[in-house]
């Protein structure tokens, strides 16, 4: 499990970091974000790339899990 902790970062940094992790190709990836916008940007990008995506509340933010 690769973890990308993008909490505290403002958009679009979380989605940029998530994309870098996806490009490395090590799955599954867990992306932690604070905001709905970051969650949606990561979720929709991953869906578009044909990945399996699961988003759930985690602490004060969200955890988005990406897998092939």
């Amino acid at each position: 499990m690769v973890t990308v902790d993008a909490r505290g970062l403002s958009c679009p940094q979380p989605v940029m970091l998530a994309k870098q992790a996806i490009d490395k190709g090590e799955f599954p990836i867990e992306v932690l974000v604070d905001t709905v916008t970051s969650r949606e940007n990561v979720r929709r990008l991953a869906q578009r790339l044909g990945l399996k995506v699961q988003a759930e509340p985690s602490g004060d933010g969200f955890k988005v899990t990406l897998d092939k």
Partner: protein, 329 residues
């Protein structure tokens, strides 16, 4: 504020007066539009609007100028002429006074370019800067152009390219190509005045300006208010350089999702249009162009007026049967 939240907030306002008691209020909240229009005399109505927002670019002068153009645009979207403006501003206590002066100078110069006057305003302290104008314009009461009178068979014309939202979001993180920012800034700085005059000269049915609710949000409002459907041809829609690139990187501002959530039930896309292109059409614009519905037989006249004014334009679709629906094909 997103469209859903805004509708909720405005609801009580509608209960504070009965429109029937104000027959001279030609455009109010009944069918929400870009600005309020109030008849003062048989041949004169005032167009009143207010808009302000947080900075979209780094440079104070340019920010003030864009905010001013964006605020005045609501008057032009109603087919009016701008007469007078007042500024509304919030500046952080630690903001250097030169920057606040730059913001006001940028606004004043744009109001002057429109042949109007920035005559005063109100300023308060707040952590995040905010700036905009309250604008008074005029229009002949019989020549008000609302977004409620588009007719089936009309042609849709757009006067600025799309994509400001993703480009300014990229800029905030220092990720934007300066050439893309320059093109977006030039687009935001362009007055919709020439387009408004062209509409009045040619005669059109309806218009609105494309701002925070994105192309599809504002189009849906025109469709709903007019009781028709709008049909856009994707290949005909203009985009700023870089817009597709940032959309493909999925760096959308939150407003794009708010707009999508609120308007998507009324919007359909042809198969094969990529998800990020769909979202790009919901992306909030700042100081966007006019979306005009013109009768097919008046299109040539409108095009001639726009060309004579050196105003870029794109024919992007048509008005079809429908009930507040928008299709992208």
């Amino acid at each position: 504020m997103g469209p859903e939240a805004l509708a909720q907030v405005l609801q009580p306002l509608k209960d504070t007066f009965r429109e029937a008691q104000f027959p001279d209020l030609l455009v109010g909240l009944g069918k929400a539009d870009d600005a309020a229009v109030y008849r003062l005399a048989p041949d004169l109505a005032i167009v009143q609007t207010l808009d302000f927002f947080a900075p979209v670019v780094d440079d104070g002068y340019t920010y003030g100028a864009i905010a001013a153009v964006n605020s005045m645009s609501d008057v032009w979207a109603m087919g009016g002429e701008v007469l007078l403006a007042l500024s509304i501003a919030a500046f952080p206590p630690n903001l250097p006074p030169e920057i606040a002066q730059d913001i006001l100078r940028g606004a004043g110069d744009k109001v002057a370019e429109a042949g109007a006057v920035l005559a005063g305003g109100h300023t308060m302290e707040d952590k995040e800067p905010k700036f905009g104008l309250c604008v008074t314009g005029t229009v002949h009461p019989d020549k008000v152009i609302t977004k409620s009178a588009a007719q089936v068979g009309d042609v849709l014309v757009l006067t600025k390219p799309l994509g400001v939202g993703v480009i300014t979001t990229a800029l905030k993180q220092g990720l934007a190509d300066p050439a893309h920012v320059d093109a977006a800034t030039a687009s935001m700085l362009r007055l919709n005045q020439a387009a408004a005059r062209a509409m009045q000269a040619a005669g059109v049915h309806a218009a609105t300006d494309i701002t925070g609710f994105g192309l599809l949000g504002h189009a849906q409002e025109m469709a709903a208010n007019s009781g028709v459907g709008l049909r856009f041809v994707l290949e005909a829609l203009p985009f700023l350089p870089g817009a597709h690139e940032y959309a493909a990187k999925w760096i959308f501002p939150g407003g794009a999702y708010n707009n999508e959530r609120f308007y998507a039930p009324h919007v359909s896309f042809a198969a094969g249009i990529p998800d990020e292109t769909q979202l790009l059409l919901y992306d909030p614009e700042t100081s966007g162009g006019l979306l005009i519905a013109v009768a097919r037989e008046r299109l040539a006249a409108l095009e001639a007026e726009l060309r004579n004014a050196n105003q870029p334009y794109w024919v992007v679709g048509e008005v079809v049967d429908g009930d507040g629906t928008v299709a992208v094909v």
